[in-house]
Symmetry: C2
Subunit: 362 residues, 2 copies
């Protein structure tokens, strides 16, 4: 049985790695880090355990933030909504959770579960449901393995809660999103309650370790005055997409999402060219000025500040900021027909078929 103790100092790397693999979404790493660190300092370190070490009949529960990350910047979580969501779910199921799960990578969604794990003393499972971040609730490997998103509990900072039971994970998304919008654009959830046996098959394994490793790389490269883009691109067999300065940014927080498009003027090796990135919480599609596809969902489009090398979330994009974009191959499950049905370009309304980032940049 292997387990790792995560203390407050480790949260720096986890928040950074989560924000990088969160592909622009999954929330602000600074807020998430502070929440988790405060909980760990108060309650003690968090035990992260391997998925294979969880009992088959254990109750495993992901906890997460749902909504537009732009909203979370202004409407800080009170801190105990996620715990309240978990407690309500336990009462509804008549059973206590044995382990917690991160639903996705992201500055907030890789760190909030640590805060809840610290407060409850529950272990956190080394894995997640995406290997990146996606904007909608049904967009998890769990859906492909027939695991139901409900019963799901939604909680806001005012004390309102909702327990959903739905006929499909797409219906969960629709009903939970509508409530999230009413709750002010962001809410905390406990969802996808599953057995250890289901988790072992449905979850992507060892991705918390991966996130921590990515964060440590970003920190050590920055300490060595190197930009972390090179080593991260090599590590994931990714592709550099472009480096550019934001010249135009359109964004709207609508329907419970932060949606928009940014235009970039290339710098350095990319000078003289323009580029565009579309996003819905996460970066979805990167193109050059001639409309040629550079990378597309479900492959990861990761952003680092071109100067400092820190991850950049969509809500941090602003006029003049220079950003380096890197395309990484998605987990192979997302490139299957079932995966592309859930998160491929067509689902998001695009005409282009999915083409792997390696094929776009041979």
């Amino acid at each position: 049985m292997s387990s790792v103790l995560i203390n407050a100092e480790d949260m720096d790397a986890i928040a950074l790695g989560g924000a990088f693999l969160g592909t622009g979404g999954g929330g602000d790493p600074y807020i998430g880090k502070l929440m988790a660190q405060q909980a760990i300092r108060e309650h003690g370190p968090v035990t992260v355990i391997s998925p294979m070490d969880v009992a088959d009949d254990a109750l495993c529960v992901p906890v997460a933030m749902m909504g537009a990350p732009t909203v979370m910047l202004e409407k800080l979580p009170r801190g105990d909504e996620a715990l309240e969501a978990l407690r309500q779910l336990e009462r509804f199921l008549g059973k206590k959770a044995d382990a917690l799960i991160c639903i996705e990578a992201g500055g907030l969604n890789s760190t909030i579960p640590f805060a809840v794990a610290a407060a409850t003393g529950l272990p956190l499972i080394d894995g997640d449901g995406m290997g990146r971040a996606f904007p909608e609730l049904q967009m998890v490997s769990l859906t492909m393995h027939g695991i139901k998103a409900t019963p799901l509990v939604l909680a806001d900072e005012k004390g309102n809660t909702s327990i959903l039971n739905t006929v499909s994970n797409l219906w969960t998304e629709r009903l939970a999103r509508a409530q999230t919008v009413q709750m002010g654009g962001a809410a905390l959830i406990a969802s996808y309650p599953m057995t250890g046996a289901q988790m072992k098959v449905g979850l992507l394994h060892d991705t918390l370790s991966l996130i921590k490793g990515v964060g440590e790389t970003i920190k050590s490269e920055r300490d060595a005055k190197r930009h972390p883009g090179d080593v991260l691109t090599r590590r994931f067999d990714g592709r550099k997409l472009f480096t550019g300065r934001v010249t135009d940014i359109e964004r709207a927080t609508t329907g419970g999402f932060a949606r928009g498009k940014a235009i970039f003027k290339g710098v350095d090796a990319y000078a003289g060219r323009t580029f565009s990135i579309d996003f819905q919480n996460e970066f979805l599609v990167a193109k050059d000025g001639e409309g040629r596809l550079l990378a597309t969902t479900p492959d990861l489009i990761c952003a680092l500040d071109a100067d400092g090398g820190l991850p950049v979330t969509t809500e941090q994009l602003r006029f003049g900021l220079a950003v380096s974009f890197i395309g990484l191959p998605a987990n192979p499950q997302w490139r299957t027909p079932a995966g592309l049905d859930l998160v491929g370009p067509k689902y998001f309304g695009y005409d282009h078929p999915f083409t792997p980032v390696e094929a776009l940049h041979p």
Copy 2:
């Protein structure tokens, strides 16, 4: 102890009376009648009991349709959603209901509880939460008496359900309405679980008997070839507002409501004048062509077909239809400052103060 057995034939009068006091809302009387009659024929008659005969510790639960009545015309309830909502609420509370309640008057909302009462064998309490219909969930006498709308269960015809727990009845309305919209514009609810002791204070008493009496009057007057408007106006110390033909009708089903405005050209004694009626599920405000107020929420604006004498709901308004409008004084609770805060003209965005219909037509 007084109780009345209601059989399938009685549902004719209850649906008619409910539609009349439903002031244009509360759903179509024909669909509601059929649903209740089918359930009574299958399971036997329904016992209606006096509020004062209910034990103080009994669990009393209103069941109702929520949403835009226009939608219910096209999206018929499957029939067991209200029962499913009740069963889920019972499971959540860990307690069986002892009696059911009608939340409001209306063609559907005075009859659906009979269908559920027949199917469960539970008695129905002689009373309701409005003495008319209002469009929003918090607009009940129960709110004025501090009774919480939650836990509330919402169920749709597909099998989706939601259990809400909120910090106020206004928050219940906001969250339940958002889900109702996602569920296709209409859903069935079990809400305001209360003790018999709370019910005795919070509910308007004996209004089911009143509704049945109104329906019987409409039937007997029609049988005698008389228009029921005269006798109903006298019975409630009401005022005839006008009789006119629809010349313009604007309507939209938005935000989970049927909203709109109808313009009428006066006929008979009202020839040569024009009139307007605003509605949000229910008729809210009646004015003449010069903008003079004829009746305003919370007083009842009831509509009868000018020729046949049957109640007219907002969704039945169509070009050329001749309608007689009658204004009735609202239950005195609605005319208090607390009542006007919930359902007065200001809440609905109007500038005019509330003026009783008797004062507008001395």
